[in-house]
Structure formats: structure tokens, C-alpha cells
């Protein structure tokens, strides 16, 4: 089986700051890391590989420095990695990103299962996973908290979370899933994995390699235009309630009643 994991390199959320004048993230001096949801996607793929055999390939679209995220992935049990990088890919929205990723996965020869994190913690759209599935014509399920391969039917049995509960679905392979962080606990990297990752050859594929029309990728292929961004201001009054839990609940109930909410 071939498992492909799509990952994104994001700035370390704990340390990133926002430039309110330019409306952009201040990335200088902030360490880049693998999007946390994608760590769970990697772990899910590696666990399935350990169970069923096969290979795990990690793929990302990003600037040249995104290669370090792929090396981190290789230290976590991923077998090989590909970087999709080209100036033409810059400024991509979710649509253009899915075009690029889909081309990358096709060039790899397709996949039995594609794993994505539910969303990236910088853009927070949660659209790339399902968008990619649609583009590749794969069955898919998003927000997965459990996963099991059913050999007899060549299906993935998954637990999909909703606000109100969950669905148990069986989806036929080839398929794509986007995972929640509760699906597993990502392993720590291994030293042998890190040593292997350091030496690994990571091919870089550009628009030409993928046979992509540059007008359909990156900023020029993106119907979404970011006009302006701003930092939300929190001006609401805040109050810390004192006392033990019972007292706090009583006070809160009174406040809500006073405000006419209850």
C-alpha cells in the first residue's frame, strides 16, 4: 500500500506575533514547525504502514526551507519525501494549493490512502483536504478521530466527529482522510530516523516538473484575494469570578440573569 501524507510547515504558534500595520505575521526569528494536525496525520499513516506494510511518502508545497519539515517527518517513520517548490506556487489559496498537491500525488503514482491534518493552524481553512480529495476523485472523510482498515471490503472504517456527535463511516479505497489531534499521540522522533533523515535525498518538483500551467497555481491561480487582515480587538469587559466552584456558578447564573441572557 502507498500512503501519502500532505503536511504544511507553519510558524510556531506559541511565538508568532502579528504586525498590525502591515497586516502580516512576523515570521523573522520564529521557528517553523510541522503543523500540529499533520503530526497526527503522519502518525496515523505510519501506524497503518506498520500494521499493513507498504510505504509512507510525505509531500508538502512550500518555500525551499520547508524541506526541514520533510526531514522532521522522515525522522518520524516516513519513508520518503517530496518538496513541491516553485516561485510560481507562492501566494496560493486553497484551490491553487489543491491543484499543486494533486499534481504532485499524481506524479508519485497516486496513493491508496492520503492523510491530511484537519486544518493548518496558520490559515485555519480546513479546505485543502476535501478539496484535494475532490480533485483526485477520492472518497473522503474529514475530522476523523478513529480509523481502522477493513481488509475484506478494502475500506477504511472511520469515526467522524460532528458538533453534535459522530458518524461511523466505511469509505472505499482509494480514499483521503483529514484527522483530528485526538486520533493518536505522535511518536517522538528516533535518533536512527534523524540520522537517516539528515542524509535523505528530497526531490524538489516545480510547476514544469508537474506539468502545471503557471496561471493556474500560486497567486495567479487563486480566486481568493486577501484584501486586508486585521487583529481582532477585545474590548469587552472582563471579570474574574472569585470563590469555589459552587460560588462561581451562583455568581455566573446571577450575572446571566441580570444581563437578561437567561
Amino acid at each position: 500500500m502507498r500512503f501519502v501524507v500532505c503536511i504544511k510547515q507553519v510558524p510556531d504558534a506559541a511565538n508568532v506575533r502579528f504586525d498590525p500595520e502591515k497586516g502580516t505575521l512576523i515570521r523573522e526569528g520564529v521557528e517553523a514547525m510541522i503543523n500540529p494536525f499533520d503530526l497526527n496525520a503522519i502518525e496515523a499513516a505510519v501506524q497503518l504502514k506498520e500494521q499493513l506494510g507498504g510505504e509512507v511518502v510525505c509531500i508538502t508545497m512550500g518555500p525551499p526551507q520547508a524541506e526541514s519539515a520533510l526531514r522532521d517527518a522522515l525522522a518520524l517513520g516516513v519513508d520518503s519525501a517530496v518538496l513541491l517548490s516553485d516561485r510560481a506556487f507562492a501566494g496560493a489559496d486553497t484551490l491553487a494549493t489543491t491543484r499543486t498537491l494533486a499534481a504532485g500525488i499524481k506524479k508519485l503514482g497516486g496513493a491508496d490512502i492520503v492523510f491530511c491534518g484537519k486544518q493548518a493552524i496558520d490559515g485555519d481553512t480546513a479546505q485543502v483536504g476535501p478539496g484535494l480529495a475532490a480533485r483526485l476523485g477520492l472518497n473522503y472523510a474529514t475530522c476523523i478521530s478513529e480509523l481502522e482498515f477493513i481488509k475484506d471490503t478494502n475500506c477504511l472504517k472511520v469515526k467522524r466527529a460532528w458538533e453534535e456527535g459522530y458518524d461511523i463511516l466505511e469509505i472505499k479505497l482509494p480514499a483521503l482522510v483529514t484527522v483530528l489531534t485526538c486520533i493518536n499521540t505522535p511518536r517522538v522522533p528516533s535518533l536512527k530516523g534523524k540520522l537517516k533523515a539528515k542524509k535523505a535525498n528530497i526531490p524538489v518538483w516545480g510547476a514544469k516538473d508537474l506539468g502545471l500551467d503557471t496561471s493556474l497555481v500560486g497567486l495567479s491561480g487563486s480566486p481568493t484575494q486577501v484584501v486586508t487582515t486585521c487583529v481582532p480587538k477585545f474590548e469587552a469587559k472582563k471579570e474574574m469570578l472569585e470563590g469555589d466552584v459552587e460560588e462561581k456558578v451562583d455568581t455566573l447564573l446571577n450575572r446571566l440573569k441580570e444581563a437578561g441572557i437567561l
Partner: protein, 389 residues
Amino acid sequence: MGKVNYFLTEEQQMIVDLARQIAEEKIVPVRAELDEKEEFPWDIMKDLAQADLFGLYIPEEYGGLGGGCFENCLALEQLAWGCIAVTTTYAASALGGYPILLFGNDEQKSKYLPDIASGKKLAAFGLTEANAGSDAGAIQTTAVEDGDYWVLNGTKQWITNGGEAEIYTIIALTDKHKGPRGASAFIVEKSDPGFSFGKKERKMGLRASATRELIFNDCRIPKDRLLGRRGQGFIIAMKTLDLARPGIGAIGVGLAQAALDEAVKYAKERIQFGQPIMSFQAIQHMLADMATQIEAARALVYSVARTIDAGEKDIAKLAAMAKLFATDMAMKVTTDAVQILGGYGYMKDYPVEKMMRDAKILQIYEGTNQIQRNVIGQALNKEYTIKKK
């Protein structure tokens, strides 16, 4: 920030980063609970195994990474920054593995080292008895030849990883009247007949580590479990401890660094007399001494570990110095950290009280610091006698 350059290779830095990541992500969040419940850290042992850290000092042909004492010290220091009870559990497996590495024959190494290197099995080392602590020569556990077997009788005390480890290296008397040549070393497996465990000790600190009696009651083990030669037991024990002692120094350095980190963080936040207590010279001077002592200890531990890896054979004095200096330092630094945090430092809400409780064992186990001074003193006596000639 000016940091001392210890000229680590890329691989060595990788070990530091990985051990630190495990300390931060896996150890720190659970250390207080493990301490409170006296719970053995199996989950973290599995993480350390997954990370390949159990095989640092084991040659590649036995599934390890082929590192030495220094690589081991680097990992121990970072893990100890998280919790020394967890770190001691990890280190004790190496203490049980060293005799096999140093004195085992090919079959013994092939049989036991791969499982120790992969972390599939924990190891432990059994020398101490109720009446034989600093006076190791007073052990009473015996091993008697009986056909194709050795039969062990006696009780080992305070054995780290007792009951949890699968592989034990045990020092027992084989010829009572031969004095220093009267003991031998054996490999005992957890499932061997006649081998059982006594009560789990309740301790002041190091509470997540398992410390138990090993009870040998006509414990029969095959003849090929003898390590090295008959009569070599005390030599094996001493060589093992010599190799392990810089690691205990490294644990002291990591623990003290954690205490300093907490103390500085607190001193910058704690307001008294209208300003952070960091601004008071009394506090600054304490922190300055702590930081300086830590760096001095680190430099000593690293230098000794590297000297060992460079092939120096006469290491008893150096290893004792590294253990002595770094662990006395750790006791002082953790005590001072509690002092800087004041009443808060004495409370369980902050981690420094545990660090101080834990630190005390470092001055006691793997040879008390008084014994370390004996080793250093005796080495000096010998060195200067030779020089006179």
C-alpha cells in the same frame, strides 16, 4: 546569549535536542503525578525506546548507536532536566548493561545487548545488600557451582528497576575466603527459578523509580551466565561504576540547570518591596553562584566523559571527581532554588521542592560522595608514590 561552546558534533547536538524534546513534552507534564503516586514511568520508557536512546552507548553490531560515555551523559543531562527519577530508571538499565558490554563474551553480548539497546527489556545492576553498602566487600549473597548450574542464595537491597527489569547483573560470592577475588558476576533473568522480589521501597525522593529487594532462594541459572571469569566480580563492579559515574554527574548538572531555570523565572516575576526580587543583589548573587557552579560541573563532567571515550583506562579518580563535584553542586543549587522561591518553593505547587528531595540521592547512590573522596584520595596517594620513584 553567551553559551559555552562544547564543540558538539551534529549527531551529539541531535541527541541533546531529542532528549530535551522528550523531557519537555513527555516528562515535565507528568513528573509531579508520577512522584506523588510513586508510579513507574513505563510510558516514558517506551518513548525513550522509540527514540533509540537506550542504545546510545551500545555498539552498532548489537543494535545500538555506537556512542560512548559522553553521548550517554548528554542524554542523561537533558532527561534529568525533566525528572531524575525517570532518568535514573533509564540510567539503571545502562548500569545493568555495562557489565555485559565490558565483560560479556560474544554469545552473552548477542543474546542480551540488542534487547537492552532497543529498550525492549530493561536491565538492572545488583551489588548492594543490607549489610554491604559502602563496604561492598561485605556482601553475603553466594553462588555455588552445581553441575551445569550456578545456585544463588541471598538478598540484594535497594536495586533500581527491581521487579521491572528483565535482565539483572548480580555480584555474588563464589569463594568466600578469597577476599577481593572471592566474588563473581552473573546474568540473572527475571523468569529464572528461585528469583523473586521483595517489597518496593518508599522513598524521600526519586519516587517514580522502582527500588526493590532481589531475593535469591536456590536460584538456579545455567553455567554460561557467569560474566567474565570466576573471581572477577568486584573488578567488574568497580569498572561498571567507574563508567557510570560521569553519567550521575550529568544527571546532577541537568537537575541543577532545571532548578536554576525555575529560580530565575520566579525571581523575575516575584514582586516584593515594589520590584522583582531579581533586582536585589542578594538574589542575583545566589543565582550567579548557582549558574557558575553548574557550568563548572558541566565542563568537568564533559571533559571526564570525553577522556574516557578517548581510551583512558585509569578512570576511577576522574569518574569519582565528576560524580562528586556535580552532585554536591546539584544538592546546593536545588536547595538554593527552594530558598529563592521561599515559601512557594517549599510547596508542591512549584517543582523545586521535588528537585531538592530528588537531589539528595545523587550524593548517596552509585557510591556515596564520601566513597568518591576515598577513591580520589587513594588515587592521589598512589600517583604521588609512583612519582617519588
